[in-house]
Symmetry: none
Subunit: 137 residues, 4 copies
């Protein structure tokens, strides 16, 4: 693929922090790290177009004994089964569960499903990661 080279300037102080950070993270060079930032920015922007087909993952931590939560979350997920590709469940201990869902569909639908899951009573922690199908980045 054709690439274009361009120059940019950065305050020395910021550059020092940036270089230390990309070294710690293991990036080969500044270009590589900045490309990742740009791809992330484009992905977050694509999410704002509510009809765009996107991919998301939802991480949930909950106590499966509370509020018949397993049944509730399973019921809820089946209402949206066309958008939920898979769901991986880890039994953290006797009480706590980690569930990671992979969703495909319109960004507004993924957000709706994610909101419903995370706001369910008994879910202790939940986060949506908005990513893409990789086509435009």
């Amino acid at each position: 693929m054709k690439t274009t080279r361009f120059g940019m300037s950065l305050d020395d102080e910021l550059l020092k922090h940036f270089d230390a950070l990309i070294d710690k993270k293991g990036y080969a060079n500044r270009s590589e790290a900045i490309r990742d930032l740009i791809r992330d920015l484009i992905t977050q922007e694509e999410w704002k177009v509510s009809d765009k087909e996107m991919v998301g993952t939802v991480t949930l931590v909950f106590n499966h004994e509370a509020h018949e939560l397993s049944d509730k979350l399973t019921d809820l997920q089946h209402n949206f089964f066309k958008n939920i590709v898979s769901s991986t469940h880890i039994h953290l201990d006797h009480h706590n569960c980690l569930e990671v869902l992979i969703l495909k569909g319109k960004s507004k639908d993924i957000k709706t499903i994610s909101d419903k899951l995370i706001s369910t009573k008994g879910v202790k922690h939940g986060k949506l990661v908005m990513t893409s199908s990789g086509k435009n980045i």
Copy 2:
């Protein structure tokens, strides 16, 4: 403040999307937009990592054909197999993959593994969600 100028390269396709986006957002130029991304990155990095046992999920989007990436990512993951509980792979299309890893361990170890995976050349998009084992929340 002293500033330093350096060059970077970007795929034309990605550059086109980036230019359209910074225009829409009202940035004066590319440098200005990239500086904001870098400042945001540094801010996010400031959350504490520690010896506390945590659970994390890493979401990766990549083209499996680039740079023998499947082999590289699998090799990398096996070096940390004790921290990686499972990894779910979705074949998005002929080229693009979504991989979601579930990690357990000290938050600094989870962070290190996640940084290494996300900074690997060929990984288009990556995000870490750090959560807890549910015991204290």
Copy 3:
């Protein structure tokens, strides 16, 4: 040899499919077909279970709406959380679920957990694959 007679019940839908199948296969009657199934089951059971560390996968198909099955299966799995590495759930349609569990541990423990899951009322179909950790093969 002495034989014993006992009664059993079957959903009409399932019975219809069963009758068509045994007719196609040429069995004289239901008893004859069921006897074959039971003999096959007993034969399969004869493989050795031991204290050897093994890896197993259990595939389950069930209707999540029946008998609060999601809650039951999750409770059951948490009792054995140390042996269950992960569990992937696919929402097949509004009613039916596929769940695939990955287990590690002594083969007798894997067998016990698998038996309990598959024999749970409401589980329509279940299969255990016993494999090894790859070290000796």
Copy 4:
């Protein structure tokens, strides 16, 4: 759902073994165990109709370092990405991997993909579980 009751006879010796087995497996009664056998029989029979939409899981054990196997298996899977719902990877140790794929599609296609994966040089052990979408059982 309407159920029908019918009688069947079994040799005492076989019945004794069967009763011991279903007790060990945790079935509530004989009917429950026989229903499972019948559902399994119907599922296996459905697999013989090559155009029927079925669900299958493939369990693979392999050494990821041999023969660039991760790359090969990922390439192979992407050729059939429409049939592969998800694939879960467990890093068993520094060398050995367990991969469990969930497949949907025509039974002949699932069998073809499974055969190709299991016969790939370097795969140490592989098994296909043929199950169904749960609709007819």
